[in-house]
C-alpha cells in the first residue's frame, strides 16, 4: 500500500510540476491543482497509513492519527479558494492582455513585433 501511495503522490507531483512549467495560464493552473492534490495526499500520509483505523477514540480497536486529517481538511479548503481565485484572475488576464500566455505575450513573433514598433517609435 505504501508503495502504490508513494507512486501516486510522485506521479501527481511530476505531472503538476510539468504542467506548471508550461507557458499558458490554463495548463499552469491545472498543474497547480495537481500539485495541491499531491500535497494533500502527502500531508495525509504524514500521520502514517493505517487501514481500518478510526480517528475518534472509543470507536474501534485500531486508531489513526487524527491531526493530519484536520490539517488536510484545512489545506483542501484553502486550496479550493485559491484555485477559484486564480481561475478568475486568469480569465481576467485573458481579457486584459488579449491572450492567455503567463507573460502576457503571444509568441516570439509577438515579441519581435513589439520590439520593432518600439524601435520605430524611438526613431520617429
Amino acid at each position: 500500500m505504501e508503495f502504490s501511495f508513494a507512486i501516486a503522490v510522485g506521479f501527481l507531483t511530476a505531472a503538476g510540476v510539468f504542467l506548471m512549467l508550461r507557458g499558458q495560464t490554463f495548463p499552469v493552473i491545472l498543474g497547480l491543482t495537481l500539485l495541491s492534490y499531491a500535497t494533500n495526499l502527502f500531508l495525509f500520509a504524514s500521520g502514517r497509513l493505517v487501514i481500518n483505523g478510526a480517528a475518534i477514540l472509543g470507536s474501534s480497536e485500531n486508531y489513526t492519527d487524527p491531526l493530519p486529517q484536520a490539517l488536510v481538511l484545512t489545506a483542501i479548503v484553502i486550496g479550493f479558494a485559491m484555485t477559484a481565485f486564480v481561475i478568475i484572475l486568469a480569465i481576467r488576464a485573458r481579457t486584459d492582455l488579449g491572450n492567455d500566455q503567463v507573460d502576457g505575450r503571444e509568441s516570439a513573433l509577438d515579441i519581435s513585433a513589439e520590439y520593432k514598433s518600439r524601435k520605430e517609435r524611438r526613431e520617429s
Binding site: L32, S36, L89, A93, L97
Partner: protein, 501 residues
C-alpha cells in the same frame, strides 16, 4: 484582559466583515471612519501588548482552551509584540493615506486591508507552524486582491505571476510541514524546539529536507535571491498604499526564518542545528549585492523603492544568517526602521505620480509637481532615513548591524555590502530627487493637490521614524530582550507533562 492576545486577529476580522454589509459596504466616509477606528484600536492593543509583555513576560493564549501542543496556541513574546506594533502603525498610515481617495478606485480596498492586517498580525502571533501557514494564506489572498486594486493591464500581469508563484510556494510549505509532522510528531514551535535534538537516523535526513523546504518558502516570501524576481514588478505595479503595506510582507518571511530556523533549528537542535545556515549565508550576501545593482538601474521611483526593499531584505538576511542575540537585536531594529522608511517612499511616490502628469514617476524631465516644497522636503527626509544618515533611525539601525557583525568577527564580509548599499542609496536617491523636483520642463505645473488625509498618513510614518530615534535607548533594550527571548525558546510551562514525541 485575558483575551488581549486574540484581539489583533479579531478586531480586523470583525471590521473587515462589517465592511462587506450595509451600512458600511459603500466606499464612503462612513466606511473610512470605521477603518480608521479599527486601525486605532489595533494600535492601542499592540501598544498595550508591548507594555504588558515587557512587564509580565510572554503571554500565552490557548484558543478555545484547547491545550498545546495540539490546540491552537497564540504566543505574544517581545518579538511578536513589537512587530504587532509595527504592523498596526503601518496599517493606520496606509488606511489614512488610502482614505484620501485611492480607496475609491475599486470597491473592496478597506475590507481587504483589514483582512490583510488580520493575516499579518496572526502570522506574528501564532505559536505553531501550521497556523503560520494558515495566516500566510489569509494575508496572501487579501494581498492578491489588493495588488489589482484599481485594475489595469500592468497590475493584472504582475498579479498573475505573484499569485502563481505564491500558490507553488504554498504547496511547498505544506509538503515541508507534512515532512516535519511525520518526523517531529508535533507542529507546535516550542514543542518542536524541544523534540528537535532527539531526532536521528533516517528521520534526520527527512527533517533536514523539510527544514530546507521551509527556507525556500520563507525565501520566496522575503524575496531572497533567486526567488525575488517577482518583487520589483509586483510592488512597482501595485497602488501606492498597497505597496507601502507590502513593505511588511517581506518582513513576515524574515520573522518566520527567525522563529523557525533561529529558534527551532538553532544551536540546541542536535543533528539539525543551523541546518539552513550554509544556504542562507551566500544567498543573503548575493541578495544584497543584487539589490545594489538593481537599485542603480532603476528607472522609476516606484521600482527604486521596490529595489530598496530588496536591499533591506538582503541586510536582514545577513543578520539572520549569523544567529546570535546581538545580530538579531540589531536586525530587529533595522527591520522596524526599513519597513517604515520604504513604506514612506512608496506613499510619497504615489503623491508624486498624481502630480507629475504623464511622466508619472519616471526619471525624466517633465512638468513640475504642484507642491514642490512639501513633497521635496518629505522626499529629502525619507531619503536621509533610507540612506542611513543621522539623525534618523536608518543610521542607528545600520550602525547596530555593523557593530553586531564586528562582535561576530564577520566585519570583513558584512561591512562592505552594507556600506556599498548606503552609497548606492545615496547616489540613486540624490539623482532621483534632483530629477523629479529640479529637472522641470517649462510649462504650468499641474493643479493636483495632495489630499490632507494622505499627508496625515505620511505624517504617521514620519512620526514613527522620529520616535524610533527619540526612544532608541528604550527600543534597543527592548529588541535585545526580544532577541534573548527568541533564543531562550518559548516558556515550556505551556506544554503538558510528557507532551507529544
Amino acid at each position: 484582559m485575558t483575551h488581549l492576545p486574540i484581539l489583533p486577529v479579531l478586531v480586523p476580522l470583525v471590521t473587515g466583515a462589517l465592511m462587506l454589509i450595509p451600512p458600511f459596504n459603500e466606499v464612503n466616509n462612513r466606511q473610512r471612519a470605521l477603518g480608521t477606528l479599527a486601525s486605532l484600536i489595533m494600535l492601542a492593543v499592540a501598544a498595550l501588548l508591548v507594555i504588558t509583555v515587557d512587564r509580565d513576560g510572554t503571554l500565552l493564549y490557548a484558543v478555545g482552551e484547547w491545550q498545546p501542543p495540539f490546540g491552537i496556541l497564540l504566543v505574544v513574546d517581545r518579538l511578536s509584540a513589537i512587530l504587532l506594533l509595527l504592523t498596526s502603525v503601518l496599517v493606520l498610515a496606509v488606511q489614512l493615506y488610502a482614505s484620501g481617495g485611492d480607496d475609491a478606485e475599486g470597491r473592496f480596498f478597506q475590507p481587504l486591508l483589514m483582512f490583510q492586517a488580520m493575516g499579518i498580525q496572526g502570522a506574528f502571533l501564532t505559536g505553531d507552524i501550521f497556523n503560520l501557514f494558515v495566516f500566510f494564506e489569509v494575508l496572501l489572498i487579501a494581498s492578491y486582491g489588493l495588488v489589482i486594486h484599481g485594475g489595469g493591464k500592468q497590475k493584472t500581469a504582475a498579479n498573475l505571476h505573484y499569485v502563481i508563484l505564491n500558490l507553488a510556494g504554498s504547496a511547498l510549505f505544506l509538503i515541508g510541514l507534512g515532512i516535519l509532522y511525520g518526523t517531529f510528531g508535533t507542529l507546535n514551535m516550542a514543542d518542536m524546539a524541544r523534540v528537535a535534538s532527539s531526532i536521528e537516523g533516517g528521520d534526520l535526513t527527512l527533517a533536514k529536507a523539510g527544514a530546507l523546504l521551509l527556507v525556500i518558502v520563507f525565501g520566496l516570501k522575503s524575496a531572497m535571491l533567486p526567488l525575488h524576481f517577482w518583487l520589483p514588478k509586483t510592488y512597482a505595479a501595485s497602488p501606492a498604499a498597497v505597496a507601502a503595506l507590502f513593505a511588511i510582507m517581506t518582513k513576515v518571511g524574515i520573522y518566520s526564518l527567525w522563529r523557525v530556523h533561529g529558534a527551532i533549528f538553532g544551536e540546541q537542535a542536535g543533528g539539525l542545528a543551523n541546518v539552513a545556515l550554509p544556504w542562507l549565508w551566500p544567498l543573503a550576501w548575493l541578495t544584497l549585492l543584487m539589490g545594489i545593482i538593481a537599485v542603480l538601474a532603476s528607472q522609476t521611483l516606484r521600482s527604486l523603492a521596490a529595489n530598496l526593499v530588496i536591499i533591506s531584505v538582503g541586510s536582514l538576511l545577513l543578520m539572520v544568517a549569523m544567529p546570535s542575540e546581538q545580530t538579531t537585536s540589531a536586525g530587529l531594529y533595522y527591520l522596524l526602521h526599513s519597513t517604515l522608511a520604504t513604506a514612506l517612499v512608496f506613499l510619497l511616490a504615489g503623491m508624486i505620480v498624481a502630480q507629475r502628469g504623464k511622466a508619472e514617476d519616471r526619471f525624466v524631465a517633465a512638468r513640475a509637481v504642484s507642491q514642490p516644497l512639501l513633497l521635496g522636503s518629505l522626499f529629502f527626509v525619507a531619503a536621509l532615513a533610507l540612506i542611513g544618515m543621522p539623525p534618523l533611525s536608518g543610521f542607528i539601525g545600520k550602525a547596530l548591524m555593523m557593530k553586531a557583525a564586528l562582535q561576530q568577527g564577520e566585519a570583513g564580509w558584512i561591512w562592505p555590502p552594507l556600506l556599498l548599499a548606503s552609497l548606492a542609496a545615496l547616489l540613486v536617491l540624490s539623482r532621483a530627487g534632483s530629477t523629479l523636483f529640479w529637472r522641470v520642463r517649462d510649462g504650468k505645473p499641474g493643479t493636483a493637490q495632495a489630499h490632507p488625509l494622505q499627508l496625515v498618513g505620511v505624517g504617521v510614518l514620519l512620526l514613527a521614524l522620529v520616535l524610533m530615534v527619540v526612544g532608541a535607548g528604550w527600543l534597543t533594550d527592548y529588541t535585545a530582550a526580544a532577541a534573548q527571548g527568541l533564543y531562550q525558546g518559548i516558556d515550556t510551562r505551556v506544554l503538558p507533562t510528557g507532551g507529544a514525541s
